[in-house]
Every structure is written in C-alpha cells, then in structure tokens.
Amino acid sequence: MKSVHTYPILLLLIVAGISACTSVKPITAEVPPSGTPEYSLIFMIHGDANYVFHEEGNQKYADQEALQNAFDIALEATKGEVFIFHQEPENRILGLLPKKDRFYYHYQNGILVDHGKYSPIDAGFDQEAAIYQAKAQTKTNENQYFFYFGHEIPVTDSAVYHTSLSGPSFNAHEFSNDLSKFGEIIKLTVLSTCNNGNPAMIRLLADKTEAVVASPTELHLSYLDVDSILKLETDPNQSPLTIAEQIATTSFDRLSTTMYTPVSISVYDLTLVSEYVDELYKPYQQYLEQTKTEGFIAAESFDCSTIPGYPKEISSKGVKVFYSPAKFGKTARDKSHSGWGCK
C-alpha cells in the first residue's frame, strides 16, 4: 500500500519536471531595439560531446569558440535578429529531473533582448524551434538563415550523438525535419560539420532550404567562418548563393593555409541540385547496401564520383567546390573533388 505522502511528492516532481522543460527567464533589454528586424539568423551550436582541439599547442573548445563568434555577429546584426542555441550536456538532479543546461540568447537589432536556460525534449530541435517560434519577430518574412556547428550529423542512427542523452540518436532525417520547424524555406543552411556534403543530407534538404554550405570530407573543429552573413546589413535581399560563396571562400582561404589535412567546402544551389539529387542518391544507397556490415565502422568519406554508376556528368550542376588536398597521407594524391562525399 502506498504512503499518503506518495501522491503529493509525485505531483511535486511532475510539476517540477514540466516547469524545468518549459520555463524561460526573459530579461529586459537595456535599450529598446529599434526597427523591425529584416532578417533572422539561427545559430545551433552543439556542445554535448567532446569538442576539444588544439591550435598552436593551445587547448580550445570548438563550441565555445563558435559561441563567441555568434555573439560577435549578433552584436553587429543591427538590422536583424539573432537566435543562438548552445546545446550543452544535460545533467539531471538525482538522475531524474532535467537541470536545464542548454542556453538560448535572443538578439534584436544588435541588442540582447532575452536569454534563458532550457532542457531538450527530444534529440532534435523541438524545444529550440518552440522558443524561436514564440519569440521571433521575423518569422513571417522568411528571411531566415540557419547555422549548425557540431560533429557530423549521421545519415542513420549509427552512433551516439548527444553524449548526455539516452534514447534515439540524432540523424540527418531529424535534422531536415526539424529545420522546417523554424521556417518553411530557409534561405541558407550552413553545416559546419564533417562529411555532411553527401547525397543523403542534401537530398533531405532539397525542399527545405535554397542553398547549403557543407563539407563533403572532414572539417576541422575551428569550423567555417560565417561573418560574411553580415553582408545582409548592407543588403538584406542579397542572394543566399552569393553569401554562401563568400562564407565558403573566406573559410577555405583560412583553412587551406593552416591545415595539413584535406579541406573541402561545397556550395549547393538547391534549386538546381534538387532536379537531379535523387539520381545521385540511388547509386549511393546501393553502395551503402553492398558495404553494409554489422556494427559501426568509422569509415572515411570518399569522393562519390568513384562509385560505379555514379552520374558524374550531372553532379557538378549547381555545385561550387573549394578543395585543397592533404599535405600528407593517402589522399594527398587526390588533386580534385566532385564536391559530393560518400561514406
């Protein structure tokens, strides 16, 4: 028989759990923002895994570096609004109650108007999208740009993505599905991750975003330089492809002079790529089926154009590739890349 105290305690736990999942703490801006934002930038920075890297012997945390860059951009975005989500590891009080370890920051016209903590409700972006939809001023004008910083988003559930969360892992399907929760068509999606310039991911994004910047191979944790997005300050109607190419060019110039590993960045014009991406996906799927083995193998990504039956002749349409081969290793002899990675 249950104690008479059981039900009030359970109720208290449930209430605490619900409030931990949903409450945010708004703050008042020091100066009221002026003017309706003309564009919206959404930064999703994954930090729920190991993001340590070294530069000239100094230890750095990729998510913290990306966060600082996002803050810098947000302060200069005087004609736009910026949402920054930092997905830190989620701890639980007594192993039960979520502790709200993720952070969001909302800037409007260069001013921080709101920030708070939250807990995830799934492996995707449901909670982040809910916060965005509740607070965004620009959601109706569809001038939205999405930036993701993290490890490779797997095509399938083959590896743990959020180290602090149990249950279903995060994958490309969930990413593309949840991207739509921020806006019907995102102008530009920047994937600052390893290996996501692949036919599966780009196919999933085909009807969700106009342009994509992604790496078809591994990408160093110093990530892509996305400051060029501030060109929107002078022309909010600038073509997303033009901005995408500026982001790719700036990033490539830095990475190709500092990295000894291969550097590859692709810009995909999805209005053109969506016409044929299914044809790329089929031989890729067949390849995956043929090479499928039990268990997870951390295979390296390779150029899709080497797969038998891959339609090389069409796959360059709408794709601009920035590529610098490795200075050492087996891939040092690969002097070009189709811009499509397979793994």
């Binding site: 190991n50 230890q59 590896a159 743990v160 591994e218 000894y260 268990g295 951390a298 050492f328």
Partner: protein, 145 residues
Amino acid sequence: MKKLTLFTFVLGLFLSTAAVAQISDPHTAFKKHINEVVQQVEQTESPEEKRALLNNSLTDLVETIEQVENKENVPAEDKAQLAAFKNDLMDKKAELNGEAGFTQVPANQLNNFANFVQQDIEQADRVVTLSLTSALLIVLILLLL
C-alpha cells in the same frame, strides 16, 4: 617524519586528482597526450630525434589500441572503430618511415607531419565516438607506458 608523511599525503592527493581529471574526461586526456607529443616534436631540434619521437609515439598508440581491442569488455562497435583507427595510425607510421609504398616524410617536414597527425585525429569523429570505456582504457594504458 610528520613533514614527510604530510608531503606524501599531499603528493598522493595531487596525483590522484590529476588521475581523476583524466579519467573523468578520457577523450580530452587523449587529445592532450597527442598535443604534448606534437609540442615535444616542435621543440626538438634534431630531425632524427623528431622522427624517433613520432615513431615511438605512433608505435605506443598502435600497441595501446591493440591491447584495448583485445579486452573482453570493449563493445563490438568500438572494436570495429578501433581497428579502423589502428590502420590509420599504421599508415601514418609507414609514411613517416617511407614504408608500404609511401615516400618518407622529409626531415624539414616533420613538424608539419606532426601537426597533420594531430589535426587528423582531432577532427575525425573516430576518437570522440569511442565509448568512455575504450577511451578510458586507452588513456590508462598510455599513462602506464
């Protein structure tokens, strides 16, 4: 005598704190280990010593991974991943020494090669997606070498 006991206690406490720090975050400890090797290579003047440092470090890593691969409590998924990682390290060692069809890394490129190894290990998901158990075993074995 009391001073010696206190010193031993403080030293033990310090060492155990350092060990706990590494154990609580083995992925970072592993990357830190690689970084220390790169720093040593860069600070060494003689190309022969640089090559020997890199060679010994890569040998240690390969042997460590072999030991971890053979542990019963290592998940099957990790074993496949460790095998791929080990092959990659063996390729790097072969290139360093000009074996298995690779051209030997020139003496004036050894610092760059050390950075290549570090960048390749840090950016690839093969390290961070290893389970805590495997990462911990790697770090503990490396500490004992």
